[in-house]
Amino acid sequence: MTIAQFSLPEQLVLILAALVLFTSFALLAQQRMLASIHVFAWQGALVAAATAMIAGVYDKHHLYFSALMTLGLKALLIPWMLRRLVDRLGIAHEVETVVRPALVMLAAAALVVFSYYVALPIEKLSSLSTRSTIAISMAVVLIGMLMMVTRSQAVSQVIGFMSIENGLFFAAVVSTHGMPMVVELGIAFDVLVAAVLFGVFFLQIRESIDSLDVDRLNRLSETDEMNGTRE
């Protein structure tokens, strides 16, 4: 089956999947705090739209509920919480420097190719028209991990983490048309609780090392103080 044989709604699902992948790249390249929160919100909205489209195409009514929950949680509530948090921490306009941005983008492109090869045998087991997006959702997961590895700012690491969750949810929707409702609700609340806990952690980290740069957690504060007194 090539794309021309799909119906227009099915093609639209593929377009939305490709746009989700693009937002992952945008998250990886975005160095401004507020802008990356906005991109994250857009990713959530696109995942929700794709879920709603799949619900329409395959007549799976429970997916409408999942889409609504994703929209409310990932596109509105969590970005709003993150936004309030960065406002409170006073880092809303902070620009984070990514080391070797071009190399990171190339690594992300390589991850897309890698996930395509890994997902090939899985796709052969499925006959759904959305099966080719399994590779996309895997790439979203891997790029989220790459974002966590390359950033030192705690808030962007959390955004990377949340985008991994977006990728996992998307994978579940496109490969099996969604998880059972109990599991889905559990994960949704997990993510919500994680967002709240991360907020508390940010404030704690900030209080103890006066910065959100997690690289500074590698250093022992007492030796620093000793060095300071010696000098």
């Binding site: 089956m1 090539t2 794309i3 021309a4 227009l8 093609q11 639209l12 593929l14 377009i15 999947a17 490709a18 746009l19 992948l21 693009f22 790249f25 390249a29 071009a102 983008m105 492109a109 897309v112 190719v113 395509y116 090939l120 796709e123 052969k124 080719s132 997006t133 590779a135 996309i136």
Partner: protein, 317 residues
């Protein structure tokens, strides 16, 4: 039949060259309306060109023959590039040479002579403009080629006319790869034709200018040819975008009715893209020169994602 075809191809190329200043002034008019200014008349670029052709050429003392021949080479090669592009019909005899990689080659030749001419007289502005143009095009060209490869993967050909024909015959198919290629090509087109936010075509003597810096030493008919070539380049990218990504209405047979529909369709589409360009130029500010590489990296990334999404999403394993 063949001589009629060649005649039509000649007419199409002449129309292309004649309409290029019209597209430029159309964009300018829309910008004026958006910014509450009074716009110049639609004939203004033609009057400017006529005035420049009548004026005397002033040459610097140390201008070499290359400096004097560069405008003719630049204009001729740009016209040649324009002649290969299917403006109204995909069935003309020029389609055999309408390869997209050849087109990129033509544009590279133009840029080579522009940069050489910019450096020839030895003024600081010319050298600066040439160096910027070359470094920007080193980033824009791979992105443009990547867009072409993405298109070629769908259409199974790098021939421009058969690509347009294929996409026209396929009807409305929402391809993720074409979406990314479209945005990639839009960014490349903005950079290559020197529009805001990469370069400002309306300024002289500004430290950020690129294209204007290279042609600063030209006057008279030389300047007229250089400016006409720049207007042609904008038209080339405009026609590429509308005819590849929105090929509806393009004439796929050589009948009078089909050609007329093709003409009207391409004019409407170019008018629309002119409005879009005017909106974009009004909404955006010119970016710092050091930000342009990031802009072009984004274009390359979009084109690369287009190629990847074609492989992942659009073909069967």
């Amino acid at each position: 039949m063949t001589w009629a075809g060649w005649l039509l191809a000649l007419l199409q190329a002449a129309l292309f060259v004649a309409a290029a200043p019209l597209l430029t002034i159309w964009v300018k008019r829309n910008k004026c309306w958006l910014q509450n200014r009074r716009s110049p008349s639609l004939l203004q670029p033609y009057r400017d060109l006529a005035k420049l052709f009548r004026k005397q050429v002033v040459l610097s003392e140390n201008a070499s023959p290359l400096f004097r021949s560069a405008p003719y080479i630049v204009f001729a090669v740009t016209v040649l590039a324009a002649a290969t592009i299917p403006l109204i019909s995909t069935q003309l005899p020029t389609t055999a040479i309408a390869d997209m990689i050849v087109l990129v080659g033509f544009l590279a030749v133009v840029r080579f002579f522009l940069a050489l001419a910019g450096m020839d007289v030895g003024t600081a502005f010319g050298g600066m403009g040439a160096s910027r143009e070359v470094s920007l095009s080193a980033l824009a060209e791979p992105a443009l080629l990547m867009v072409i490869f993405t298109l070629a993967m769908s259409a199974q050909s790098t021939n421009l006319a058969s690509t347009v024909q294929y996409l026209h015959d396929a009807g409305l198919v929402l391809r993720p790869s074409l979406l990314f290629a479209l945005f990639g090509l839009l960014l490349v087109a903005v950079a290559e034709s020197g529009r805001i936010p990469v370069d400002n075509p309306a300024t002289h003597l500004e430290l950020t200018m690129v294209h204007e810096a290279m042609i600063l030493e030209y006057s008279g008919r030389h300047l007229a040819l250089m400016e006409w070539a720049a207007q042609l380049k904008l038209m080339i990218f405009g026609v590429l975008i509308v005819n590849i990504f929105f090929p509806w209405g393009v004439a796929t047979e050589l009948s009078a009715a089909a050609l007329l529909i093709g003409l009207v369709a391409v004019l409407v589409k170019l008018a629309l893209i002119g409005v879009v360009l005017a909106f974009a130029e009004t909404a955006l500010a010119k970016m710092r020169v050091f930000m342009v590489p990031q802009f072009l990296n984004l274009a390359f990334l979009l084109a690369l994602l287009g190629a990847l999404s074609h492989v992942i999403l659009e073909v069967d394993i």
